[in-house]
């Protein structure tokens, strides 16, 4: 009998011990969800900072910026008629920028004789151009226009050409009067 009673008591005890109440279950589960969110959040934050910082450091990326170049016409010392090509060139004949940079080219026609030059680009590039009457960009404006593919400069004029390097690749700029020798390349990295 005593043994039977003991068994009965044990049964009751074990039933009470392992029967979960709604409150305990709820509290435990809520706590673990919050803990889970906290742990995931902390891991994600630490991983994000670590990878972001190391990528930024390792790649040494330069953010898009405004890059200004001074461009001139130049001429090589040879007889054009004898060689059958123009002796005019661009100086510099290569402009290198990163994709997304804003490019500003201050182009001066420094001819010692009355000769025009153009700055001409093909699609997809178009540019805004402000042409100044004199040898620098502080002189009065002759013309100003957006979305051009070509701008013409008379002797001693200055043009401020600006555009955003939105397409990566190598793009030609040229003078339509002295092509093909007066040709340069815009190199857009990225």
């Amino acid at each position: 009998m005593a043994l039977c009673q003991g068994k009965k008591l044990d049964k009751t005890f074990s039933k009470r011990e392992f029967e979960p109440t709604a409150m305990t279950q709820s509290t435990t589960r809520q706590w673990s969800t919050e803990k889970l969110l906290l742990v995931i959040g902390m891991i994600a934050i630490v991983a994000g900072i670590a990878i972001g910082a190391s990528v930024g450091y390792a790649v040494r990326y330069e953010a898009p910026t405004t890059r200004t170049f001074y461009l001139f016409n130049s001429s090589l010392n040879f007889d054009e008629e004898l060689w059958g090509v123009s002796h005019d060139t661009f100086a510099p004949d290569r402009i290198t920028v990163n994709k997304a940079d804003k490019v500003v080219i201050i182009y001066r026609n420094i001819e010692d004789q009355n000769e025009d030059h153009t700055f001409t680009m093909d699609a997809p590039y178009k540019f805004d151009a402000v042409v100044h009457v004199g040898r620098n960009e502080t002189t009065p404006v002759v013309s100003s226009a957006p979305d051009l593919t070509s701008v013409n400069l008379h002797q001693n004029q200055t043009a401020v050409i600006s555009f955003t390097a939105s397409w990566g690749g190598v793009f030609q700029y040229r003078c339509i009067y002295h092509y093909p020798t007066m040709t340069g390349y815009l190199v857009v990295l990225g």
Binding site: L36, G52, G56, A63
Partner: protein, 121 residues
């Protein structure tokens, strides 16, 4: 403000936010001229995929916390690289990251509500 507690509403709002973030990431990778564009494509594609996973309610106990962590990770990654390099600080990125921040909150609420035991049991 009334916070929705219905897991179905939270799940579908999460799907909408994930999908929107994914599309914006892909658009940003395509339109953003510069560094990390391939990374934006990858991030966007993963988001679009996870939107489908959350919509299908496939393995929610695993998928939901993963999206929650992924969104926080990408937000912090963007913030760190943007502050370090100056890249990705423009309107499209701000909108994208604002939606991502909303997504984090949405996912946290969804996870809490999905894991809350039903009062009927």
């Amino acid at each position: 403000m009334q916070v929705p507690k219905d897991p179905a509403i939270l799940r579908w709002s999460a799907v909408a936010l994930i999908f929107a973030t994914g599309l914006l990431d892909i658009y940003y990778g395509n339109s953003y001229a510069g560094f990390f564009e391939n990374l934006w494509y990858a991030m966007g594609a993963i988001y679009v995929f996870t939107a489908a996973v959350i919509a299908a309610n496939f393995e929610p106990r695993f998928a939901q916390p993963t999206v929650f962590g992924y969104a926080i990770f990408l937000f912090v990654l963007w913030a760190t690289t943007a502050l370090g390099t100056g890249a990705g600080l423009d309107t499209v990125a701000y909108v994208d990251k604002a939606i991502e921040a909303l997504l984090v909150v949405n996912m946290a609420l969804l996870i809490r509500n999905s894991r809350r035991p039903s009062t009927l049991t």
